[in-house]
């Protein structure tokens, strides 16, 4: 791999909440345009890892970290604009959380807050984002309706569209399909695969099959440590670590 393809570099990252250590000296690179799946049982540090990438742990006063995270070569724990970072590193949460506004205003929310006034630009961006999230055809006739009236799967795709609208480089997914039915899950996965190359995506999931379906590479986390990182194919057919094999074959987790 040549260096220019590396989007995120993590060097010896440890993180803890108060006395509880959540992540132990993690080092890995994420390549530009790939989907990196992160699997592991609960409390393995997956979500902590994800939240280190957009500094979402900052809101927790007990959080502390060591090590370095760089995106495009910039140390994100250095003196940077956190709001700009979060704009560039989008996040989709486990539970679909639409804001109590119309479908349209949900998709336009980020743009408006980032000071975009031009309604034509907003309209264009909203439509593009909704199309990209495979939601446009379902909601184009009820853009003014309350977002809360959408189904759970539609709401989650609206959340994805809302994230896309602020034009991120990187999208983090924190178990985005854990509350969804198989059809909605398939649509989200389809969108993710479609986004390959355009965005760098990291998918944290409890669903090993999902990780296998969409990930270029897969990392296996266990108790705050990364056990193994390899091409998805390799991980799911011939993992090099016994614990990985035990987890994906369902012996624990």
């Amino acid at each position: 791999m040549v260096d220019s393809c590396i989007k995120i570099t993590i060097v010896d990252l440890s993180a803890s909440y108060g006395a509880v250590c959540a992540l132990k000296s993690l080092s890995l690179d994420v390549r530009e345009g790939e989907i990196l799946s992160v699997i592991g049982p609960s409390n393995s540090g997956k979500t902590t890892f994800l939240r280190c990438l957009n500094r979402f742990n900052d809101t927790n006063p007990h959080f502390s970290h060591r090590g370095m995270v760089t995106i495009n070569g910039i140390d994100i724990y250095g003196n940077i604009d956190v709001e700009m970072l979060r704009k560039k590193v989008g996040m989709v949460f486990a539970l679909p959380t639409v804001l109590p506004m119309s479908v349209w205003e949900n998709a336009a929310y980020g743009l408006r807050r980032h000071g975009i006034r031009d309604e034509r630009m907003i309209a264009l961006s909203v439509e593009n984002s909704l199309r990209a999230a495979y939601l446009w055809d379902e909601v184009k006739d009820r853009l003014e309706a309350a977002a809360l009236n959408l189904s759970g799967g539609q709401q989650q795709r609206l959340c994805l569209a809302r994230t896309l609208a602020v034009e991120p480089d990187i999208i983090l997914y924190d178990e985005p399909c854990s509350g969804l039915d198989p059809i909605s899950t398939a649509k989200i996965e389809e969108a993710m695969i479609h986004f390959k190359d355009k965005y760098t995506q990291i998918l944290v999931t409890n669903n090993t099959k999902q990780a296998a379906r969409v990930g270029n590479r897969t990392a296996f986390f266990l108790m705050g440590q990364m056990v193994e990182l390899d091409a998805t194919n390799k991980i799911f057919t011939s993992p090099s670590d016994q614990r990985t094999e035990d987890y994906i074959s369902g012996r624990f987790g």
Binding site: N72, I74, I76, N79, I80, D81, M84, L85, K88, G115
Partner: protein, 295 residues
């Protein structure tokens, strides 16, 4: 790409957040000032009058020579009225709360609730006035007394005035009991009353304690109505059918005539401190009762 820039937007936000911070600090300062000012004005009294003499003295003659500042009659006045009001308000108030929360339904529930909300909104001076015009003559006639301005009248009125506090907080506590408790009891064949009495009521008990405490706090702090109804005689009563004077009424009635900085002025502030401490403790107990439930 990620450097921080100072835009006009950012500056505005910075200023707004500073305003918020400043407001928070101001409120904290005000809270502190309340303690400090009451203490400063009130403690001046204790240079000339001992604390024991103040709290346990039975003579409140603030303008005689020499003046006497014993607030025991006032404490007893407040106590008598408060106990009387509590005895009236607690059983009736809690029973109403149970009825509104557990038995009444639909429209009736809404009507009863708004009736109680209206009562909470009526200014105490209006209730005091109505009490003077209707309750006082009634007490005088029924009990054949020389005056209707008695501790008993005050207790009746204050019991009534404490209802909204007791009913609404007790009702919140009862509503907070998970429905499934009651349903489980009903499923086992209990009657609705058995489910309420044996299951819902005990589960809500700490909230009800809080309701009672806050109701008592309301009664002790009430000023205008009690001043207009209880007759304002600063001596220790032998029965509840005699006039009494409460701590609050003393402050309200006498502060207008004091000389600033005089012993009398300080004594009224010292009464304010006593009231402050009593009500603060009561609220604290109520708060603890509520949090006890939360665990």
């Amino acid at each position: 790409m990620l450097e921080r820039h100072w835009t006009w937007h950012r500056v505005k936000e910075f200023l707004i957040e500073k305003c918020i911070y400043l407001s928070g600090v101001t409120s904290i300062v005000i809270v502190a000032l309340i303690f400090i000012f009451l203490a400063k004005e009130g403690f001046a009294l204790f240079k000339t009058v001992g604390v024991g003499e103040f709290l346990l003295g039975i003579k409140w003659y603030p303008i005689s020579h020499p003046a006497q500042f014993g607030i025991l009659p006032l404490i007893i006045g407040s106590l008598v009225v408060t106990i009387g009001a509590t005895l009236i308000a607690v059983p009736i108030g809690v029973a109403s709360a149970v009825y509104i929360s557990e038995v009444a339904s639909g429209k009736i529930k809404e009507v009863l609730k708004s009736g109680i909300e209206v009562l909470a909104a009526i200014p105490s001076v209006v209730l005091g006035f109505i009490g003077m015009m209707t309750l006082v003559p009634w007490v005088k006639a029924v009990f054949n007394l020389p005056t209707g301005l008695t501790a008993f009248s005050g207790a009746l009125m204050l019991g009534f005035m404490a209802m909204p506090t007791i009913v609404s907080i007790a009702e919140d506590a009862l509503n907070a009991v998970p429905k499934r408790y009651k349903e489980a009891a009903l499923a086992l064949g209990a009657t609705r009353w058995q489910a309420i009495w044996r299951v819902v009521f005990p589960a809500a008990s700490s909230g009800i304690v809080a309701a009672v405490m806050l109701g008592i706090g309301r009664v002790i702090g009430e000023t205008m109505a009690v001043m207009m109804i209880t007759g304002n005689a600063a001596r220790i009563p032998t029965t509840i059918f005699e006039p009494v004077r409460t701590l609050t009424a003393t402050i309200a009635a006498e502060m207008g005539e004091t000389v600033r900085g005089s012993d009398h002025y300080s004594a009224l502030f010292a009464i304010g401190i006593v009231l402050f401490i009593i009500t603060f403790m009561i609220n604290l107990i109520a708060d603890i009762a509520v949090h006890h439930k939360a665990k």
